[in-house]
């Protein structure tokens, strides 16, 4: 999904709000409600198995863009988690709004997603690959800054995971390995790129073998 969350390479944002080694990172949470965000997310994803983490990521991506940008991080987790409990029929928006004493805006509607393609031979470390030029409307873990770009495989995972474009929609998802694909930063950002390489972790289904 070419959504507001797909931020890699977007211009216009300012200074990162941090000086290195200036924080102890304790306490971990700053507001008394923040721990509930991941707690209730993992209740649904890990314990009750009401939804999976890909669906959670996609629910957050489905937040109305202005709501996404305005909400702090743990607020987005709460909205995504609440949206899934509602979509899965566990809760209703009405009861959430009654308990909250006000509006509880949820993510925009879920869509169909897509199944993984058919299995094919794995790639090997050193192979040159091209990221498919696909414009996926639903959940995907291919950031748009590498779409259609050529890179080199530096690692193939020894574990396989459900194809997120299907799993993010609650569909049956075939498992695939992922590949750490190294891109020359100049191919992504032009000759004046400040970075030598960007390595992106991509499911097999996002890749094709490059022409010689």
């Amino acid at each position: 999904m070419d959504g507001i969350h797909d931020l890699g390479g977007t211009n216009g944002f300012g200074t990162v709000p941090h000086r290195i080694n200036s924080l102890t990172y304790k306490p971990v949470f700053h507001e008394p409600w923040e721990h509930l965000a991941y707690g209730l997310l993992f209740l649904g994803a890990d314990r009750l198995r009401t939804f999976n983490v890909d669906e959670l990521r996609h629910a957050i991506e489905r937040m109305e863009p202005r709501q996404y940008l305005a909400a702090p991080y743990y607020d987005r987790i709460v909205v995504g988690t609440a949206s899934l409990y509602v979509e899965k029929g566990v809760l209703t928006q009405a009861e959430l709004e009654e308990l909250a004493g006000g509006a509880f805006p949820l993510a925009r509607p879920q869509t169909e997603g897509r199944a993984a393609g058919s299995p094919r031979p794995h790639f090997e470390v050193g192979d040159e690959v091209v990221v498919t030029r696909e414009f996926v409307r639903g959940h995907t873990r291919m950031p748009k800054y590498v779409r259609g770009k050529r890179g080199t495989i530096v690692h193939r995972t020894s574990v396989e995971w459900p194809f997120p474009d299907a799993a993010g929609h609650g569909r049956e998802a075939r498992r695939q390995p992922t590949y750490h694909v190294s891109f020359d930063a100049r191919d992504l950002w032009g000759e004046t790129a400040e970075v030598s390489a960007v390595v992106v972790d991509l499911w097999e289904g996002y890749l094709e073998k490059a022409d010689e």
Binding site: L7, G8, N21, Y25, V28, D46, L69, D75, V195, D201
Partner: protein, 199 residues
Amino acid sequence: MAHDSHPTAAPIARRAQALKDALDRKKLIPDGFIEDFTKLMEVDWDPANGARVVARAWVDPAYRELLLRDGTAACEQFGYTGPQGEYIVALENTPTLQNVIVCTLCSCTAWPVLGLPPDWYKSFEYRSRVVREARTVLREMGLDLPESVAIKVWDTTAETRFMVLPFRPAATEGWSEEKLASIVTKDVLIGVARPIVPT
């Protein structure tokens, strides 16, 4: 529909509590579940864990070799496993290479070894800029790398969780593992800082 008219939402503290109360009313939250998970997040998952892994790799060549070959197994030796730590890959820095970790799409991090991701790591500023202008971003954050140091940025877009293995600074000969671990911070494990030997 509600989301098209942008109603002013109830404050997030009330919405978060409402979500918990709604699940509670349906008896869906097992006793102690939130408390136990919160302890994992606040206490167990800590950058001191990653620091111990790094310090061991600095003093034990066989462990270092294992960490670079199978980061998950190396972290498991310390018991650092669990959600967001199921497939760990360590990235080795050298004096001429700095590895930096980001998740441009959300916030993915190796929780058991790095702890939960910090606010700045989840900021739109870091997510948008570091894949494109890392040298400037690091300089702004306080790490001014010479041009002779290449920067490689790793985007955590799938299930691999990365940790940076910094190179051991000079002037740390004879240090204990504990003392070595003390200079490996969360920022060092993410790759936006290098270990600093106090003078």
